[in-house]
């Protein structure tokens, strides 16, 4: 697997330049700790890091699941009902003008300091890409398939056409939405944790920051990045397996 090698090489290069920057620039450890110190902190605090990473992971995954359901449901309603389209589409687009960041304090106020508000944040942040992508896919069913179905059906059966043709045909579009969702859901969860929480990697980062434990802050950041990257690759691999007929693989195109 060449891509693995490339990833490792990039990582090694980044760590090396980080180390060089610290030693050559003679930076104090409270500004930028050495990679060695971060690795040390990672090992030293592995218990709490794991605990908080678990909390954040649960928030992200639950947010993903709920957001996917809500987004797919909305897209189906939009695709199926013209009235819903007229009323909901402008609202949906206008709602995107309000940054999720701005309503984070409200969510914490309403849903409390626990996981609820963070799950809601992750859900809200992925709602739009999921809805927009799936709805777009549902609207662009190949004309010929719809013609074929129309000739096959003596009486129109929109639900049957949706179920057997339009929805499966839109799954690749939904999959692109889910890939975006996997990349941004961690942002929602961590944002929620920053606004107010007692657990999670976001909480740990704020906590470490206020105590000048910059090495722990970086360790938490590293764990968060690892979490986000593995989530993305898991989702991507799962989608590829579920949609084997769909020729999407940017890597295989070039090689």
């Amino acid at each position: 697997m060449k891509s693995w090698w490339r990833g490792l090489l990039t990582l090694a290069g980044l760590v090396l330049s980080w180390h060089l920057l610290v030693t050559l620039g003679d930076l104090p450890s409270y500004i930028l700790p050495d990679p060695g110190a971060v690795a040390n902190s990672l090992w030293h605090h592995k218990g709490p890091l794991l605990h908080h990473a678990g909390v954040t992971a649960v928030e992200i995954v639950l947010g993903m699941v709920l957001g996917t359901w809500l987004g797919s449901g909305s897209a189906l309603v939009l695709a199926y009902s013209r009235r819903a389209r007229r009323w909901l589409l402008p609202m949906l687009i206008a709602s995107q003008a309000i940054p999720v960041f701005a309503i984070a304090p409200l969510l914490v106020l309403w849903l409390g300091y626990g996981m609820g508000s963070k799950i809601a944040m992750a859900m809200l942040i992925i709602y739009f890409p999921v809805t927009a992508n799936f709805y777009d896919g549902l609207r662009h069913t190949q004309r010929g398939w719809l013609d074929l179905a129309a000739v096959m059906l003596p009486k129109p059966r929109p639900w049957a056409v949706l179920r057997h043709i339009a929805i499966p045909a839109a799954l690749p579009a939904l999959a692109s939405g889910l890939r975006v969702a996997a990349a941004i859901a961690p942002i929602g969860a961590v944002l929620g944790e920053w606004v107010g929480s007692s657990a999670g990697l976001g909480y740990l980062m704020l906590h470490a920051n206020s105590r000048m434990q910059v090495d722990l802050l970086f360790a938490a950041l590293f764990v968060l990045a690892a979490l986000a990257v593995s989530l993305y690759f898991l989702v991507d691999a799962g989608l590829r397996r579920l949609l084997p007929w769909h020729p999407i693989s940017p890597e295989t195109e070039t090689d």
């Binding site: 074929l148 129309a150 096959m152 059906l153 049957a160 056409v161 043709i165 499966p168 084997p244 007929w245």
Partner: protein, 252 residues
């Protein structure tokens, strides 16, 4: 190997198709006006014409895929509308890429919520020579195989009228000849209208051949050829008729 059994799927009783006073105005352009077309029950008719002559629109009109700006009276020989009595095959195979071949064949039954007749689907797949590919995904098949599957799906619908819009034009020459022979054999007894821009295809397959040209387009019947389809493209009568068509289209 494909098994050509005599337990062949029988065709429903033949149905005549009558189209009266058809008119299509598209983008301010009258493609055809006061067009009349009668297809005898159980006959194979080829509709020949240059691209843009409106022949595909005419076929879609017959299929009930009414484009805006079209009018006309369409009835079956029994005086009833054609809804539910037509099967349609297009130039693209229109196989759903997420379903295997077998599930593509029974799509119509799925959509209508009917009981699935898998034995019949398997028999049809055997007749088009795809019994071994029943569980294959369409993207693993060649163009010819995909169009065979589309033919099986068309036959699975078991409608008295079959409308085909240049179904073989995307295939290489040899595959096309084979599929033409297969279609001629399997569509016997149904009222078929096959739209094509290839004079040889029309001459090979058509019991009757109609030509559509001009603007607004008119239909004119060519003299019926001797012999039953599929005819040999090298046959002398076919060659003579081919030359006559080319002369008429002012190619030679």
């Amino acid at each position: 190997m494909p098994v050509q059994t005599s337990t062949a799927v029988s065709a429903p009783p033949p149905l005549t198709v009558n189209l009266r006073a058809a008119r299509l105005v598209y983008g301010g352009l009258t493609l055809f006006d006061d067009l009349n077309l009668k297809l005898d029950g159980g006959s194979f008719t080829c509709l020949l014409g240059p691209s843009g002559s409106g022949k595909s629109s005419l076929l879609r009109l017959l299929a009930g895929l009414t484009p805006p700006g079209v009018s006309g009276e369409l009835r079956g020989g029994d005086g009833q509308p054609l809804t539910g009595k037509v099967a349609y095959m297009a130039q693209q195979d229109l196989l759903l890429p997420w379903l295997n071949v077998l599930n593509n064949i029974i799509l119509g039954q799925r959509l209508r919520g009917e009981r699935l007749d898998l034995p019949r689907a398997m028999r049809l797949l055997a007749q088009v020579g795809l019994a071994d590919q029943a569980l294959a995904r369409p993207d693993t098949l060649s163009g010819g195989m995909r169009q065979r599957a589309a033919l099986a799906r068309t036959l699975m619908e078991d409608r008295p009228v079959v409308l085909m819009d240049e179904p073989f034009s995307g295939l290489d020459a040899l595959t096309r000849l084979r599929l033409q022979a297969l279609a001629a054999q399997l569509l016997v007894g149904r009222t078929v209208l096959l739209v094509t821009h290839d004079p040889l295809e029309a001459l090979r397959l058509g019991e009757h051949i109609l030509m559509m040209n001009g603007r607004p387009a008119t239909l004119s019947a060519l003299a019926d050829l001797p012999g039953a389809p599929p005819r040999d493209p090298g046959d002398r009568a076919v060659q003579a008729a081919y030359r006559a068509i080319l002369r008429r289209l002012e190619v030679v």
